[in-house]
Amino acid sequence: MKCLWVAPIVEGHGEVDSVPVLLHRIGSELFTNVHIQSCRPIFQPRGRLINPNDNSLSKAIQFAISRLDAVPSDASRLVLLLIEADDDFPCRLGPQLLNRCREFRPDQPIACVLANPEFETWFVAAAASLSALLTEIDDADIPIAPEVTRNKKKWILDRSRTGNYAPAIDQRKLASKMDLKLCRSRSPSFDKLCRELERAIRVEGR
């Protein structure tokens, strides 16, 4: 079995708890003979990460690499920058951030993935599988193209069985229940995450 250790850099408190769950599930459910283990995600505000005049991104990358230095030497490694695209175009912001990351540490495997436009978009894409946490949803209620419009936090809130949506509490539950195959088929940005992980396993595992 191949083992991939990921050091995520995230922008939200909710992602700190949910991303390790998501990564582990992707390894065990979407890939064959792959175990993905996550270091505790490094949280930094989005505005500071994307600001080229701020050194938060370079510091976070150094920290992530230090975290990976402690993992078993036979495992593949990846620094994963995972933030929301928000109003930026992922096709522009993604490569810009990746170039900055590689300028700091060209010797390290680094991937940049932007949830488009929000992290919650992935839950909306897999909403049909989240009936335990969201109220009954018929097919007509689920957006055909979940990545086209914003405000998916409100979409989740409006359908939450508890009547509340707190990312720091609820994202982990949603990430542990969502159908990953369904999400990958309906969300190109989630598919990008899966492809980056596949690439890290393939390239690093040589």
């Binding site: 490094i42 510091k59 230090s66 975290r67």
Partner: protein, 76 residues
């Protein structure tokens, strides 16, 4: 929610001890190597690491400290 407390300054000759309370269990031990490196390289302060939720006891030290502190807890 985790709770952590820094007990001492971190610089040469000093040790930074982290305390974490998770699921009813309190753990104490030196901070992990990555955090120690970040502080010694002056990339992050202990306070910044604390706010980022990164300042936790080194995993390997946890079982050792459990043994060291076992005698301090009265058995019921």
């Amino acid at each position: 929610m985790q709770g952590h407390t820094c007990l001492s300054r971190f610089s040469k000759g000093f040790t930074l001890i982290a305390v974490a309370a998770e699921k009813g269990t309190t753990e104490i031990g030196p901070v992990d190597a990555a955090c120690a490196k970040m502080m010694s390289d002056h990339l992050y302060t202990a306070g910044e690491l604390l706010r980022m939720g990164q300042l936790t006891p080194e995993p390997a030290s946890r079982s050792e400290t459990q043994g060291q502190f076992a005698g301090l807890v009265e058995s019921k």
